[in-house]
Amino acid sequence: MNTEAASKTSQDNSVNELAKENTTVGGLFERFGDASFTVQPTADEIPTLWVSRDDAHQVLGHLKSEIDNPYSMLYDLTGIDERQRQNRAGQPASEFTTVYHLISPERNEDIRIKVPLQDSDLKINTISDLWPAANWYEREAYDMFGIDFEGHPNLTRILCPSHWQGHPLRKEHPTRATDMEDYVLTQERVAREQEALRIDPEALGIAGDSDRDTDYMYLNLGPNHPSAHGAFRIILKLDGEEIVEAIPEIGYHHRGVEKIGERQSWHSFIPYTDRIDYVAGVMNNLPYVLSVEKLAGIVVPERVEVIRVMLSEMSRILSHLLFYGTVSQDLGLMSPTIYLFNDREKLYKIIEAITGGRQHPSWFRIGGVAHDLPIGWQELVRDFLAYMPGRMDEYEKIIMQNAVVKQRTRGISAFTTADAMDWSITGPMLRATGSDWDIRKKRPYSGYDKFDFEVPTGVNGDIYDRVVMRAEEIRQSLRIIQQCMDNMPEGPYKADHKLTTPPPKERTMQDIETLIQHFTNVSWGPVIPAGEACIPIEATKGMNGYYLISDGNTSSYRTRIRTPSFIHLQMIPFMCKGLMIADLIAILAGIDYVMADVDR
């Protein structure tokens, strides 16, 4: 026992010494003392420090505001139910862990802070006073794990309905509906659900002032509304048509994909990722397979990287074209929507020729892609590349240069880069404020460093700039696709690694070892080595990342899906205050969210 503990300490020390080479971690050790931290090595090499519950708020506050080039963005905040985890040597005892993932754009560095909690005393101080963005993240962690964030202004369920029993991401919560009590929609239940939807201004804290002569109107925008882009509800407090307060309400699209991730095998989870941001197709596969490959130590061939980049950029164009169309539709300009759908159709034809699927191709694989590119793909791509730039010029004229569009979008809901950091805004919305934070450039994944493209940045951070960003990104994506086509390397389309590619079928007939290897890989799926990794990518709407924890099993122990849309919606009340309903519609269109990406 003693020797074990001693060896553990010495191991800790060596890990600590190694970690101190990182200036931030070194600074933290100097400021709070070595004893305050436990360093955990992770596969993605993001410095990961365990901090006690009492120190957590102070450490996070220190990282946010007391150091040079601070960690100004709360990238993610989530929980882990550690109670059934086997492989956690060197980590402090914890039943539930709160994970804070911070990013410093100036340093281009991340840090992960973990706080151990016990089920009997599942409490921690809120950090919503440090980052306004923490508000929804903490509500989500409360909803999913039951972690009580003390001092939180409004700690209520966010994804599940208010009357939900239990906390879904706890290991004891059933995964399937068949494990639960039968669902019967009785009249009483309908009435109860209806009643739960009623707006109670007092309870929501948006009641009118008693010294005002006139009443406010409380308008229920959604869950079914033409411009809500899915099942999404915003409770509005209106003075005439002017918005006094707005409360976004999400969760109508919650399917529990994170829970499903703990059930599916590593491979069979890939199709679920397609359905997260359902307009961005295969690009959703990318952060997942990158993280799994990091955990498994798989290095993919160059051809795979280039194919993935090409397909991802096609998905980006698909998503941005839809955005471009819906933004004009929501402003009442109906024709461009249909032109853009025609263009998307042309692109879908190419994607269909390459992957066999259209909206949800589920085509990337751990360690590669599903098939090689088909014969003659270059002609299809070449035709599209010749066709699209001219169309973009035309859309520029009919949408961006339209006087009414300018009047409706210029100067509306503008915010600064600092606001964006506080609210964890990433993607085109962040770049519209002038920041050049694009992780394709900052931390090139999948070989993006080999491509020549620019990151467009805006000036005003208003809706108009947000649209300009997307239009410009389409042109840049076309450039990247051109380079992919011109420089497509030869080689295999999947990595030669035992965890991803089954042995050749002919050889399985020769010896039993190969047969067993083949059999286990295709029946249970591969066993990914224990560890943690998160490789965020620059998705269409912002930073998308899968924080995967493997416990050395055939499926993930915890799948955390950090999507940009979820956290972007939190900013709606801040963006629309004092504006009119018509502006709110333009703001919603300008955020570019997909409800499946919000609720997961």
Partner: protein, 325 residues
């Protein structure tokens, strides 16, 4: 004697009335089809093309569908007014056709000496349809749409009337037949170009057509004042809108483009072609313009259109007075 009386005083007026009425509704219904097909052309898609030649049967099919839909009245609505509201828009649009001369022979009460005022009065009554329908629905989105409709109508009716006064001065009559006859040598669009511009925009706003559809504003208010309507009652709002489009187009043709006047072709063909041209113009505008924000639209009305129509009125009056001397 009696036979002549029967033909001249009973059969002929009756044919006239029925002809104008059926013509108006028929044109309105065909406009729905024209709009869907033309929007298809302008938006790189097909539009309805399956039922009948060129898909013209689509209108009939839609009518059948809308007649057989459940006639639902929301339990929380003010039921009597809820039912009356959609009929108003149909009635006033129909009655307005009475004072418009289609050709020298066709026209119901087209020589009414206050014809133009009657037309404006009917237009003003039309807004009650949106007002009552929205209020009776007892729905917040409808209420917002209704408030918008009221504000928009108040603004746009003022200068719709003012824009026509130049025409009245030039023709020296409120009778629409006199106005058409006064255009035999020169269409009023030439001396009254600004009057025409203002009237065209006001006509679009009156019929709640995009980009002036802020009382409906699909992307903002679901369907605005008629959110709660379905079945034939919605159908009346819908057809009423298209009859309104035909009415506004016909008025543009009659007041500014010489009505039935034109070389070679018979008067009925001329008036038809002119009206069709403006109907197409309405549809084209819908397909290319976004919707301004409610307050921007009001500001445009009061700050641009009203001064423009007043200036037009004063200058026309000055010229008419100077010419009279």
């Amino acid at each position: 004697m009696t036979m002549e009386f029967f033909i001249n005083d009973i059969l002929y007026p009756l044919l006239n009335v029925v002809g104008v009425l059926v013509g108006a509704i028929g044109f309105g219904a065909v406009t729905i089809w024209i709009e869907r097909r033309m929007l298809g052309v302008w938006q790189d898609r097909l539009g309805p093309n399956r039922i009948g030649p060129l898909g013209i049967g689509q209108v009939v099919a839609d009518m059948i569908k809308i007649f057989f839909k459940e006639d639902w009245i929301p339990p929380f609505s003010d039921k009597v007014i809820f039912v009356i509201a959609p009929t108003i828009i149909m009635c006033v649009a129909m009655i307005s056709f009475a004072v418009i001369p289609i050709t020298p022979e066709i026209g119901v009460a087209d020589d009414l000496n206050i014809g133009l005022l009657f037309f404006l009065a009917m237009m003003a009554l039309g807004v009650y349809s949106a007002l009552l329908g929205g209020f009776a629905s007892d729905n917040k989105l409808s209420l917002l749409g209704t408030v918008r409709a009221a504000a928009q109508s108040v603004g746009y009716e003022v200068y719709m009337g003012l824009s026509l006064m130049g025409v009245v001065m030039l023709a020296d009559s409120f009778s629409i037949r006199d106005i058409v006859e006064a255009q035999e040598d020169m269409w009023f669009v030439i001396p009254q170009f600004f009057g025409f511009l203002v009237f065209a925009i006001a006509g679009m706003a009156e019929s709640h057509r995009a980009p002036f559809d802020i009382p409906e504003a699909e992307t903002e208010l679901a369907a605005g004042f008629h959110t709660e309507y379905s079945g034939m009652k919605f159908g009346m709002f819908f057809v009423g809108e298209y009859v309104g489009v035909v009415l506004a187009s016909l008025m543009m043709a009659v007041l500014f483009f010489g009505g039935w006047h034109g070389p070679f072709l018979p008067p009925l063909v001329w008036i038809f072609l002119k009206t069709l041209f403006f109907v197409l113009f309405f549809i084209l505008v819908r397909s290319v313009l976004p919707r301004p924000r409610y307050d921007q639209l009001m500001a445009f009305g009061w700050k641009v259109m009203l001064p423009l129509s007043l200036a037009n009125l004063v200058i026309t009056a000055g010229i008419v007075l100077a010419m009279a001397d």
